[in-house]
Amino acid sequence: MGIRFVLMVNKQGQTRLAQYYEYLTLEERRALEGEIVRKCLARNEQQCSFVEHRNYKIVYRRYASLFFLVGVDDDENELAILEFIHLLVETMDRHFGNVCELDIMFHLEKAHFMLEEMVMNGCVVETNKSNILTPIQLMDKTS
């Protein structure tokens, strides 16, 4: 499994979105998130975006007040994951228009759907922004 989890965390360390592609109990999730947030948020701009933690490699990127953290397998391509994060942000940007933390808070489900369109079972299945957004826009129309 390439991608094992995707986290969005604000700079206060509060989780805004958590999507796991393997089952962890709530306690395990909280513990993991806590450790990762502590590790990654302490790092500055001059430091690289890769952190090894437990048996994960964490690739993270900061956009304004929001950190996007992706936990991957050890042999995953770090740069590709950075591109993936960027694609995710761009997609959300296109949908919400200048996306910010609040958009994700209030439209958590949509953010999840975008992720679902992009990643399945830890594999990236869709990299085209319009394709990712089509089903969500359709759903918006019908509801």
Binding site: N44, L79, C123, V125, E126
Partner: protein, 975 residues
């Protein structure tokens, strides 16, 4: 009812309300959440779908963001999932994917719902169901829903198909038998013209190949086509990952892909792709010189980039290359060293790893020097990281890369004085280890040890205690090469030693004893020199025999002396005292000779062993150790007690010396010197490293009856704690059994009186010998006690001693053999015992079942390669069938195949499918008017060209790869 639900709806808080309200709650968030959950619990029971789904939506929000437990609502989740309204269903599915796991009891209830949704005409419903399945599929779900997934694998709706492909990974994982059904369609999708489908399918294969690459070798041609044709970087990266796994298994594959990979490196503008290519080259294609050169060139660009990410990856790539291509690291030395002062700890650690990979005999000193300077400047964490890697690298494979041990020992000493050093334990181990293994380093060791011991400031640092412990031990053990034993004594006796923990204090005390014995010995040697040295001649041949022995077997000196002595005592008990005195002199001389220059020089320096200095030394020991008799710790107490008694005894005799007449001097002196001698002999026995398997080499003596059941032993030794291995396991042998034997005999022969104590006490002591040192008999070394686990001590001791001698002999022989190359001093190695076996990771059984299934599908029903070779025709025809199927779009035929493969239990499936394949083959052949080679040729390389004449060649422009999936084991695809 209707009215109430409207009311509920009207007054229900929506998710948005909840979030807004939550944002206003600056404090008391937890109470707010629990209130909200209460509300949800009420609402979720509503019969109104709208209310219920909104409640579930809120609950899943709280669960995702605030970690609220939602397992209690699993039944409601199922209810909402089965709603007819898509908006509700969506909420239900989302909640399920978030909260369900293998243990959720309601999983059984959703099979039908999933099946219904998977077969739905609404592709979004299908997609919801697939998404859920990809996350929560269990064995049951996977098994029951495989037919549905199989259908979706070839649906025309790309949106659904790509998801179905991704789901297959989970289904295979849970239910390997699904491979038989789905695998062919999966492979078929590799050739899809839809880039999205290819993306998904390559992702799946990348994961599958990571677990068991060998099974996917036959698919190499398909992967190769993607590698060459695809424009999608993501796909290319995944394909490269697949090849990185496959190439090491089949060298011809490497030859084939190296060019396209290099092409990508040269042409691609995407850093991620280039990096993946570089990594693939360095891991899997490292035999291709030109490719490696190209890759290293790219790595160099990364190393000097502004972006820390690229620098980090560059370093990582280099460390991948390091084992095979050290030149790559050496070429980039500056960049690596520069990274050592990077802002980022991760980068620093990577560069440290690389630096240590670069280290070789010639410049280990320089690199360590540079690193130590960095360590001084760094934060504690990184400092210890540096120290750790220096220690590990230098000690690797018995100090393989260390040539100058004097340098290394002083480096260890220097490390100890770094303020942040927390590697005390490792340094301790190495100091002791070097002492035992490398004779030539001992002088420097003692010097370094002295510097450490003498500094009172170090005693206050807790992290250094272990190092001081080693230093004290070294000082005591190798005191004969010390430049000034009195100085060492001062250091060991300084008042601040009270800061040490008792276990280390005990080592200090023991070292004091050793040094004391050494000093006394030298002193006696000096004073005896004029008097009784010539008495050696009186002994005549006998003693010459000894000296001969001693010369040849210098290290066993003590043993020989002891044993022969014992014999002699038997014959001539009256002579004992005199005789031993003479022996000691002689031994001393021999020792001087064998230790060579260093010893003689120190011996000469010992001319200042004046009477007064010895007396003052004894006084000081008395003064310092006096209070220790009340010490809480048993070790400290006993050892100091022993020394004190010894000191008292010696003092009496030596101080009296000056007043008494010459005759009495001789008599008394010889008694003291006998004692001293024995102790010295015991201490000078060379300690060597002990092989882990040493015990196994000791033959069981005939007289010894070994019991299978050791329960009794438990009763005897249950309360006896062995010294923990971390403290001084290696120190154990200083009470070599030789000394045991000789001194206990000494006891018997010379002063057998005290042994006739109450027998019960003796019994008790024997059992708990570890702690009960014969304290009244102070002239016996504190280390002398029966082996803790040896209930019958005396009878076996001599045998054991002999065995031990043999062992040391063996290790000596070994030493001689392994080290002929001088400048580098001898490092004693024990070939077997010190090596730890490398455990080989075996693939998990679950993977086996999966790969077994895949092999079945890919290679026909043969299980192993060796078997499959013997049935070339059947297999290849089957292969062809598969190929044909891949290249055809004929739906009905596919169905047929599907049915065929869905019933693997059919009678002789192999032959039936064979026939089937043949018929199909013929059909196509006729259609396409292409000459097909005969089945039986298929395994012959030279004919492989013919096979390209099949339909695929048209698509692939004569790529010779086509042959791949026809020969099962190691296909000839690339020739």
């Amino acid at each position: 009812m209707a009215g109430s639900s409207i009311m509920e709806n009207l007054f229900q808080h929506s998710l948005e309300d909840l979030i807004k309200a939550m944002r206003l709650q600056l404090i008391g968030e937890t109470t707010f959440i629990s209130k909200a959950v209460e509300e949800i619990r009420r609402e979720i029971k509503s019969t109104d779908q709208q209310t219920k789904s909104t409640a579930l939506q809120k609950l899943s929000y709280l669960s995702a963001v605030h970690g609220v437990d939602m397992s209690w609502a699993s039944f409601q989740v199922v209810e909402v999932m089965s709603s007819s309204k898509f908006a509700h269903k969506r909420i239900g599915y989302h909640a399920a994917s978030q909260s369900f796991n293998d243990d959720t009891p309601v999983l059984l209830l959703i099979t039908n719902q999933l099946r219904k949704d998977l077969s739905s005409t609404n592709e979004f419903e299908v997609s919801l169901a697939l998404n859920l399945l990809s996350q929560i599929a269990t064995l049951d779900l996977a098994r029951d829903l495989t037919p549905e997934v199989f259908k979706l694998l070839s649906t025309t709706k790309v949106f659904v198909r790509k998801k179905a492909i991704a789901v297959v990974l989970r289904v295979f994982d849970k239910y390997p038998d699904a491979v038989r059904v789905c695998f062919k369609r999966l492979v078929e999708n590799l050739e899809s013209s839809e880039p999205l489908v290819v993306t998904a399918v390559i992702g799946v294969f990348c994961e599958l190949a990571a677990k068991d690459p060998r099974s996917y070798l036959p698919l190499a041609p398909e992967f190769y086509r993607i590698l060459v044709d695809s424009k999608n970087n993501w796909v290319l990266i995944k394909v490269l990952k697949v090849f990185a796994k496959l190439a090491p298994l089949e060298h011809r594959l490497g030859k084939r892909i190296v060019e396209p990979v290099c092409d990508h490196i040269r042409r691609s503008g995407a850093k991620s792709l280039v990096f993946e290519c570089v990594r693939t080259v360095l891991t899997s294609l490292s035999d291709y010189e030109s490719a490696v050169k190209l890759a290293v060139e790219k790595v160099r660009e990364l190393l000097v980039d502004q972006d820390p990410n690229l620098r980090y990856l560059g370093l990582q790539a280099l460390s991948v290359a390091a084992p095979k291509h050290l030149w790559a690291v050496l070429e980039n030395k500056e960049a690596v060293v520069k990274s050592l002062s990077d802002d980022d700890l991760n980068i620093r650690i990577e560069s440290l790893r690389l630096l240590m990979a670069m280290v070789s005999e010639s410049h280990v000193a320089d690199i360590s020097r540079v690193l130590l300077n960095y360590a001084l400047k760094s934060d504690p964490g990184f400092c210890n990281e540096i120290l750790d890697s220096i220690l590990r690298t230098c000690s690797r494979n018995f100090y393989e890369i260390v040539v100058d041990f004097d340098w290394y020992v002083s480096l260890l000493g220097e490390m100890a004085t770094i303020p942040n050093c927390q590697k005390g334990e490792e340094i301790e181990t190495q100091l002791v280890d070097i002492g035992m293994r490398v004779k030539d380093a001992r002088m420097e060791l003692v010097r370094v040890g002295r510097d450490l011991l003498i500094d009172p400031a170090l005693l206050g640092n807790v992290h250094l205690h272990r190092i001081l412990c080693a230093a004290a031990w070294v000082a005591g053990e190798y005191v004969e090469v010390a430049s000034n034993p009195f100085e060492l004594m001062d250091a060991l006796l300084q008042p601040r030693t009270s800061l040490l923990p008792p276990s280390i204090r005990a080592v200090y005390i023991n070292s004091v004893l050793k040094i004391l014995i050494f000093c006394l010995d030298c002193y006696l040697l000096q004073s005896d020199g004029s008097g009784s040295l010539y008495s050696v001649n009186l002994e005549g041949g006998q003693s010459e025999l000894f000296s001969a022995k001693n010369d040849t077997e210098a290290t066993e000196l003590a043993t020989c002396g002891g044993l022969n002595y014992e014999q002699d005592v038997g014959f001539n008990p009256r002579n004992t005292a005199d005789y031993s005195g003479d022996l000691s002199v002689e031994n001393g001389i021999d020792r001087a000779a064998t230790h060579g220059k260093t010893f003689t020089s120190t011996l000469l320096a010992k001319k200042n062993f004046m009477h007064e200095s010895i007396v003052s030394l004894l006084n000081r020991i008395e003064l310092i150790f006096g209070p220790l008799i009340t010490n809480q710790d048993v070790e400290v107490l006993e050892r100091s007690q022993n020394i004190l008694s010894l000191v008292q005894l010696i003092k009496e005799e030596i101080i009296d010396n000056s007043v008494l007449s010459v005759d009495t001097i001789e008599k008394k002196d010889t008694r003291v010197s006998a004692i001293i001698n024995f102790m010295r002999d015991a201490f000078t026995t060379e300690l060597g490293p002990v092989s882990v398997s040493a015990q196994g080499r000791v033959a069981v003596p005939d007289a010894l009856v070994l019991k299978e059941n050791l329960d009794e032993l438990q009763a005897i030794c249950g309360d006896t704690e062995l010294p923990s291995s971390s403290s001084f396991a290696t120190g154990g042998p200083h009470c070599t059994t030789t000394s045991d034997a000789s001194s206990s005999n000494l006891l018997k022969n010379e002063e057998s009186g005290p042994l006739n104590e109450s027998t019960s006490l003796i019994e008790h002591r024997k059992r708990h010998g570890l702690y009960y040192l014969p304290s009244e008999k102070s002239e016996i070394f504190p280390d002398e006690y029966p082996r803790a686990n040896d209930p019958k001590s005396n009878s076996n001791i001599n045998d054991e001693a002999a065995e031990l001698v043999k062992l040391t002999e063996q290790s000596l022989l070994l030493k001689k053999r392994t080290t002929q190359t001088k400048p580098r001093p001898v490092v004693v190695k024990l070939d077997d015992g010190d090596l730890t076996p490398i455990s080989v990771k075996r693939p998990e059984p679950r993977d086996d079942s999966l790969s077994g299934a895949i092999k079945d599908v890919l290679l026909g029903s043969e299980t192993g390669p060796s078997v499959s070779r013997s049935y070339p025709s059947g297999k290849s025809s089957r292969k062809q069938k598969e190929k044909k199927k891949l290249s055809t779009n004929d739906r009905s035929e596919m169905k047929e195949n599907a049915v065929d493969s869905e019933k693997p239990d059919l009678e002789s499936p192999n032959s039936s499918s064979k026939n089937h394949g043949h018929s199909k083959e013929r059909k196509h052949r006729g259609k396409e008017k292409i000459v097909e080679s005969e089945d039986h040729d298929h395994n012959e390389k030279k004919k492989s060209g013919h096979r390209h004449g099949r339909r695929k060649t048209h698509q692939r422009a004569k790529s010779p790869l086509n042959v791949a999936s026809q020969t099962p084991v190691i296909p000839d695809f690339l020739l």
